[in-house]
Structures are given as C-alpha cells and as structure tokens.
C-alpha cells in the first residue's frame, strides 16, 4: 500500500484515476478499524487533509461551504455555525471522543455509508449539498442522494466529496439532532432523529424530519413534517409526529438494538427533536 497526500483537488483526481483500487481518506477513523478487521488494503491511500479546499469552513453569499475533510471539532468550535445550525453541530459533535473529533469529518461520516452516521440527518434536514469531484469535473447533489444503502454510495470510482454547501437558515428557524446510545459517549446511535422547523410565532410554517439508524439510509419522514406544519407542536401533533416516525422506521435487529426498540424510540426522538428545534427557532426570533 502507498500513501499520497495531494495538495489540490485536481492532483487528487488524477491520482485516483491513475490508481485503480485507491481510496481517499480524511480522519481514517473508519478506514483503520476496517483495515484491521480484514478489509483489503487499498493500493493507494489518498490523504485529503493537505488540500486547503477540503480543510476550510467559509460563510459567504448566503451559504456555508465546509471542506469535506475538515475535522468536526473545527465545526463544533465555530460559534457562528453552531448558532445557526445547532443540530448539525451537535450531530457532528457526537461522532466519538475529542480524539476522534480532531480527525472525523463530515465527508468521512457521510461516505462511510453508515445509516447511523450522526452528522447526516441534520445535514439532510437543512438540505445540504455535496460537491463531488471526479474524472469529469465536479457535480453537486443533495447530501441525501450520496448514500444508497449501508456502505453503498452513488459515487463512481474516482469520485470524492470535496465540500458541503448549506444555505443559511431562514429567520425563525431552528434545528436539533438527538440520538440514543447505551453510553453517553463513544457510541454509535441506536436511533437518531434530526428536525428542522421554521416558526411564525407559535405556529410551525416549515418542517423537515429525518431519522438515522432505522433504515438502510437516513430517511425523511414526510408524514411527520406534514403533521408539524401549521401546528403549534401541541400534544396531538407530537403524538402524530411520533407515530409517523415510528411508521417510517424500517430497522433491523443487530448488536446495537432491536427492531421493536428502534421503531418505538424513533417516534420518541422525533418528538423530542421537534420540541427542541421549535424552542431554538423561537429563541432565534427572540435574539434577532
């Protein structure tokens, strides 16, 4: 196995094109455990962290641009970002310990392809876009279209995520991500739920509800969103959100949780995330 650390996107693109069986990585927090558990070594490990574009966070022209290899600790320590997207920030901040946070990245978390990836549901809720580089140049697709199943991506060989774009949240908008894990830290979500709402006073005018770890990919829950819009998040609405989330869950039994548990808790977390997001949305109003 060889190691390469290109310093531009183009350099990385041609390396990947020239070396079949090569693989990009950022923090290696998934790559190393996978190699240790017997996955074949790539021919070339392409380290993306020396490419400035993949290691930067910028806010301009009404949207954020986040380098795909940027350590999540950079994002969670970015006060302006965390204030606008507390849900994405807390999702990113749940990917492992401080040691992991200094290595893990939004790009890695997404492209590992795990349905339990903590940063993904809130990114989907904010309709984040992934900018993808490949042999033919660059293309931009919704984050929700990158992962097609556990460990499966829509990216072709030689393609990699360069950066994420997230439009500024509208006024009076808040998001939240909550998950359950057996431990408080160092764990993989049994269930995760992200909710983003826009509020007009006590009334919800826009909502996105996304679940993690309860289906082959993160999934949006249109029925829960429909229940929220127009409501004041009263108990009946929250019960409907929970029911819709549980209905949308299509989980598996594994070492981390049961079908029964995941289905039930998906509803609980969707409800809790909605309440938290709405409180934040109202707080945004108060602060503005």
């Amino acid at each position: 196995m060889q190691y390469a650390a290109p310093t531009t996107v183009d350099e990385a693109r041609s390396m990947l094109a020239d070396n079949p069986g090569s693989r990009v990585f950022a923090g290696a927090t998934d790559v190393v455990p996978q190699m240790r558990s017997g996955r074949p070594e790539p021919s070339v490990l392409v380290d993306l962290k020396r490419i400035d574009r993949l290691m930067s966070v910028a806010h301009a022209d009404g949207h954020w641009t986040i380098g795909a290899a940027t350590p999540t600790s950079e994002l969670t320590h970015n006060g302006e970002f965390a204030a606008m997207f507390p849900g994405i920030s807390e999702g990113a901040g749940l990917i492992g310990s401080d040691q992991i946070q200094n290595r893990s990245s939004l790009g890695g978390n997404l492209c590992n392809g795990s349905p339990a990836a903590d940063s993904v549901p809130a990114m989907i809720a904010s309709e984040a876009r992934a900018v993808i580089a490949g042999a033919d140049g660059e293309r931009t697709i919704p984050v929700g279209d990158v992962v097609t199943g556990p460990g499966q991506l829509s990216l072709s060989d030689g393609e990699f995520v360069v950066e994420f774009e997230i439009d500024d949240a509208p006024a009076n908008t808040g998001d939240a991500y909550v998950r359950t894990t057996p431990r408080t830290e160092m764990d993989i979500a049994i269930v995760g739920a992200a909710v983003r709402v826009t509020m007009d006073g006590d009334t919800c005018t826009d909502a996105r509800v996304v679940l993690g770890a309860v289906a082959p990919t993160a999934v949006r829950v249109p029925d829960a969103e429909a229940a929220l819009v127009g409501s004041s998040l009263d108990d009946d609405t929250l019960a409907a959100v929970a029911a819709a989330a549980s209905a949308a869950a299509n989980p598996i039994n594994d070492k981390r949780g049961t079908v029964e548990y995941r289905t039930q808790v998906a509803g609980v977390l969707a409800k809790r995330a909605a309440v938290l997001a709405a409180d934040r949305a109202k707080g945004m109003e108060a602060n503005s």
Partner: protein
Amino acid sequence: MSRTHITCTVNGEATDFLANPATSLLDALRDELGLTGAKEGCGTGDCGACSVLMDGKVTCACLVFAPEAEGRDLLTVEGLSSGDGAEGDHLHPLQQTFLEGAALQCGVCTPGFLVAAKALLDNNPDPTETEIRYALAGNLCRCTGYDKIIRSVQEAAVQLRSAT
C-alpha cells in the same frame, strides 16, 4: 516494501524516521522512536490509550498513518514533564496530581489520560466536572472508576490557574 522518510517534531525536538505507509503513527513512535509511553489498547480509536497531541490537538495515534506526521508537531507523555519551560524533569502538574491523588492503578491508560487532560486544560483552564468527564470520555480506564482521575484533573486545573 518501500519505507517513507518522515520528518517531524516530537516532544520539542526535530526528528525523522522511516516507516511503511500502512504503519500507524503509534507503531512508529513505539518501534522506530522507542517512545513506548503511548499504548495500544484497541487499535481502533475506542480506548484513548495511544493519545498524543498532533499540532496541539489530541488524537489517537493508532488512527494516524505514520506518513501523516510529516511536518507535524507531536507531543507524547514522554514530553509532558519537560515542556512549558519547566526546569529539569519537573513533573507536569497533572502528573503530580495523578500521583498524589492515586489516579492510577495498573497505569496502562495513564499516559493517554495525561495527554488528553493536558489538551483539555490547554483549551479550558477551568472546566466543570461534566466538561472533564466528556473531554476524557475517549479514554477508557478499567481500574479506577474514573473518580480519582477526575479529581486529579480538577486539582491540576486549580494549580495551573494559580500558577498563571
């Protein structure tokens, strides 16, 4: 297998070594540089026994490929006592409070805890108990139940604050 030449700073000194690309920074530190303070408890980033600072950020050396260290500034537990302008081999306040507070039993996780706690206190000189617990959640200890470790970090924070 061709080995890569890597140049970096380790515990304040310019250092170079050879390593296979697939070698972890942890193995390079331990086997090439003889710095065996960082331990391998899991090899997958789940225990923190291999914690080192890379450009001031705490990280698991087992998750870093050795060539990634090129040009980086590394601190291991072996560099903890001599840094920060302290004379001779005076212990870092964390090392002293760990000793006085009986914060170690078998001692195999201790280097990782000391390095992670230093990273915490460098950034947050007055952490709450909860902040300490979360900052050290990536370091597993099976002997102490964490109680005396948390107390020793609290005490070191007090000492470091009063020293500045």
